[in-house]
């Protein structure tokens, strides 16, 4: 063990001498420019030439493939650098133009209460522990599922998105006469229904249970939300992914989020959730990620620490 300690000391000495090496391991360092959000993507999109995508036999654009995640950061609004776990990042909100979610007063207070109780070192925290990001418990929502990337399969009447993460999947019927289930049936991922508008796949999501946050720091929507996702190929390896959230219980106006999804392995953002940028013969394969298998430690810690289960925010009467 003494040899290993000596080696450790040597390794630390090397790191001290070459700080650039640390950046290659995904560390969030102070002083870096903000990560790309809606503003950067819309600016890039504006420079792209018109694109005529490859098509399926039914004439629809061929969206099939493995798509990397929409964002490696997980704060939906812009944020300054907080600490090594929270880098500076541009807002993913393209509308309203200021990049802030247009909360009603009660909802802003609820969001701020969520954030004050995070106990993760963010400014303004009270030190109390209120809720943890519900995603900690291996659940996903729309549109947050897209953050980690997915395999997309496509037929004329269905589009399937299959995440490596937690084996979450969604099967989206593509049919004009396919009605949503009764509003009494609510789901973490909601109920999706798709249709084509020209070369854009449009997915309407309703029946959302309202128990998930929009990011890891307390931004949220309710069970009254309607989410409309728009997927359009803008180059061989990029999908313009636009999300509109209408939630008259929480927001004063509809929200638009703007992302690009990159075909896995073709761009710098490699959050596909499988190979995730690690090279090798199986880099593009999804391998089993049984999220509940070993999550007991986290569930126990959360209870010991005093966090409460998030049941959804309710607008006061």
């Amino acid at each position: 063990m003494r040899d290993s300690l000596t080696a450790l000391a040597a390794a630390l000495a090397v790191v001290l001498a070459t700080p650039a090496a640390a950046a290659g391991q995904g560390m969030f360092e102070v002083g870096n420019p903000p990560g790309p959000g809606a503003k950067s993507w819309l600016a890039e999109r504006a420079t792209l030439p018109p694109y005529d995508p490859a098509r399926m036999s039914d004439g629809r654009p061929d969206l099939r493939g493995r798509w990397g995640g929409s964002s490696s950061g997980d704060v939906i609004e812009d944020t300054e650098y907080v600490d090594v776990t929270t880098p500076a990042w541009e807002s993913h909100v393209s509308n309203p133009a200021g990049g802030k979610l247009p909360y009603q007063p009660w909802a802003l207070a609820a969001r701020d209460a969520h954030r004050a109780g995070l106990a993760r070192g963010w400014p303004g925290e009270t030190g109390d522990r209120l809720h943890l990001d519900p995603q900690t418990f291996c659940v996903k929502s729309a549109p947050r599922y897209a953050q980690r990337g997915f395999d997309l399969a496509q037929t004329p009447d269905h589009v399937a998105m299959m995440l490596n993460w937690g084996h979450v999947h969604r099967s989206i019927p593509i049919a004009a006469d396919s009605a949503h289930p009764t509003s009494a049936a609510t789901f973490w991922m909601g109920s999706p229904r798709g249709h084509w508008e020209g070369d854009t796949l449009v997915v309407e999501v309703t029946n959302i249970n309202g128990k998930m946050w929009l990011d890891s720091v307390g931004n949220f929507y309710s069970d009254n939300a309607r989410v409309v996702e728009r997927f359009r190929l803008v180059s061989a390896n990029q999908i313009d992914y636009e999300v509109r959230i209408e939630d008259p219980t929480v927001f004063t106006e509809p929200v638009t989020l703007s992302y690009d999804l990159q075909r896995d392995g073709t761009g710098p953002r490699l959050g596909g959730g499988a190979g995730g940028g690690t090279p090798g013969p199986y880099a593009s394969e999804s391998w089993e990620h049984a999220c509940h298998e070993g999550n007991t430690h986290h569930v126990q810690e959360v209870h010991v620490l005093g966090f409460k289960w998030y049941k959804g925010a309710v607008r006061p009467e």
């Binding site: 630390l12 640390a22 990337g149």
Partner: protein, 137 residues
């Protein structure tokens, strides 16, 4: 075998941004469960390895200064991440001596988020959650 908090050294490295290993990603509940202000270095005997999702867990017996033994649980990356880095469960034989660096749990339980592991034969591995991976939690 003993607990070596190394608080001064590693806190200094954090403050200057020179820490060698990834301190995990923002979408992780790491910051709520573990304390980046409390880096720990644990030297002990591997007693168990849970090769499970979403994170693997190592358990090591650490002898305290008073001679008592505390079994620490060390969070690691998930099996898929460890596999793709070239690690196998057989790289963690029970009874081997290991040196783990990480961050202590806020609860005060003998748990830590593992960042780096040095095996008895001198091999050294990044143990944590790869920030580009996005597949952890």
């Amino acid at each position: 075998m003993k607990v070596k908090p190394l608080l001064i050294l590693l806190s200094g490295l954090l403050a200057t941004g020179f820490l060698a290993t990834s301190p995990v990603s923002a979408h992780h509940s790491f910051a709520a469960e573990f304390d980046i202000e409390t880096p720990v270095e644990l030297e002990g005997t591997l007693t168990r390895m849970d090769w499970v999702n979403p994170h693997g867990w190592l358990y090591i017996d650490v002898v305290q200064p008073d001679g008592t033994v505390v079994n620490w649980a060390i969070e690691a990356g998930g099996p898929n991440q460890l596999l793709r880095r070239g690690l196998r469960k057989t790289d963690f034989p029970i009874g081997t001596e290991v040196l783990v660096q990480g961050f202590a749990a806020k609860s005060g339980a003998p748990k830590a988020n593992g960042q780096d592991i040095t095996m008895a034969d001198g091999r050294n591995f990044f143990l944590g959650v790869d920030n580009t991976q996005g597949g952890a939690r």
